[in-house]
């Protein structure tokens, strides 16, 4: 049974599978957050969207208010979930000075970005927001990539080869990757999940420069870029 079975639209099986997996695994311990903390981040982001009128409250009532999250973490979640266009380096610096580690910050960004993604999709196809799973026990892995270093983002990233070493080869392959791929690499699990969504929602990365490639049955490449361009203009994303 797929998570979007109730939709009147035919949903790509790969996309539905990835979305279902991401939702199920939100409650698992992550790299820096416990399952409970990760769910608190996701719930806080969703509630922020509901409070801002960007999402409709599902039938199971209010989402997490971020219980168990520090006030600093909640602020990052709320700002990024609702107004990414206003998120700047001072937002990041405040978070770090407020006690978040770089690694925690990156994991938060990854989770917020993904839950907003899933919720926007559900809203788009006209189904209720999907319920969260239960938190699973267990400790975060707390593994930081050894070759992560300060490059040009606010946060450390794993460089491309050769500086990034075996970790870079495993994450990126042989060819250098841009920051939209590498940005979350301080927390490789979040980077991988971001790319899983990219492959099924936008297109497999190997086709990005093939402007004749049509990944979606319902839209041409040009029509895809209209949607992408408009959303990014609204979010004032320069990248």
């Amino acid at each position: 049974m797929g998570i979007y079975d109730e939709s009147k639209y035919e949903i790509n099986e790969d996309l539905e599978e990835v979305h279902g997996q991401h939702l199920r695994e939100l409650g698992n311990p992550g790299t820096w957050g416990t399952g409970g903390q990760r769910l608190a981040i996701a719930g806080c982001a969703r509630q922020a969207g509901i409070d801002a009128g960007l999402l409709e409250e599902p039938e199971n009532g209010p989402q997490s208010s971020g219980g168990g999250l520090s006030s600093v973490a909640k602020k990052v979640v709320n700002e990024l979930a609702v107004l990414p266009k206003d998120f700047d380096e001072s937002s990041y610096q405040r978070a770090i000075k407020g006690g978040l580690t770089e690694e925690e910050f990156v994991e938060i960004v990854g989770i917020v970005a993904r839950i907003v993604d899933l919720d926007v999709f559900a809203r788009g196809i006209g189904v209720p927001l999907k319920p969260f799973p239960e938190a699973q026990s267990g400790e975060p892995s707390r593994k930081r990539p050894e070759t992560a270093t300060q490059e040009q983002a606010w946060v450390p990233t794993v460089p491309n080869l050769p500086e990034g070493g075996d970790i870079a080869k495993a994450l990126y392959g042989e060819m250098p990757k841009p920051y939209i791929v590498r940005g979350l690499s301080l927390v490789p699990d979040e980077m991988k999940r971001h790319l899983e969504l990219e492959q099924v929602q936008y297109m497999p990365l190997k086709h990005v420069r093939d402007f004749d490639h049509q990944h979606h049955a319902g839209l041409t490449r040009m029509q895809v870029e209209v949607v992408a361009g408009r959303v990014s203009a609204i979010n004032q994303c320069f990248y």
Partner: protein, 113 residues
Amino acid sequence: MNLDINLDALIEPDLDIGVPGGSELLRFSEALVGTDRLALDAAREVLENVLGAAAIPAASAIAANFSKNDRIANGLGIPHDPVMMKATKDIREQLGLNSYLSAINTLKYFPSD
């Protein structure tokens, strides 16, 4: 297919972007990441009528994807690369992208000439 694309419509969506179903896609995208649920439901219906049912999950997936990516980019301060900056100089000026708050993440390394 020869299309006369007007990128200004990405910033001013009432303009004709020059892509089949473009106006409907712009309206749906804006409503999907906006606060007016009635407008979203109406835009969805119009888009489906114009481009067919398959356009809805497709457009929703793209809007979701770039809602994700915009938060990753703006949230981590990632810069664009020099090749892309060179290629997009005119478009960035045309669309006013250099005035975005997030532009500094790139412009501090690659000032726009």
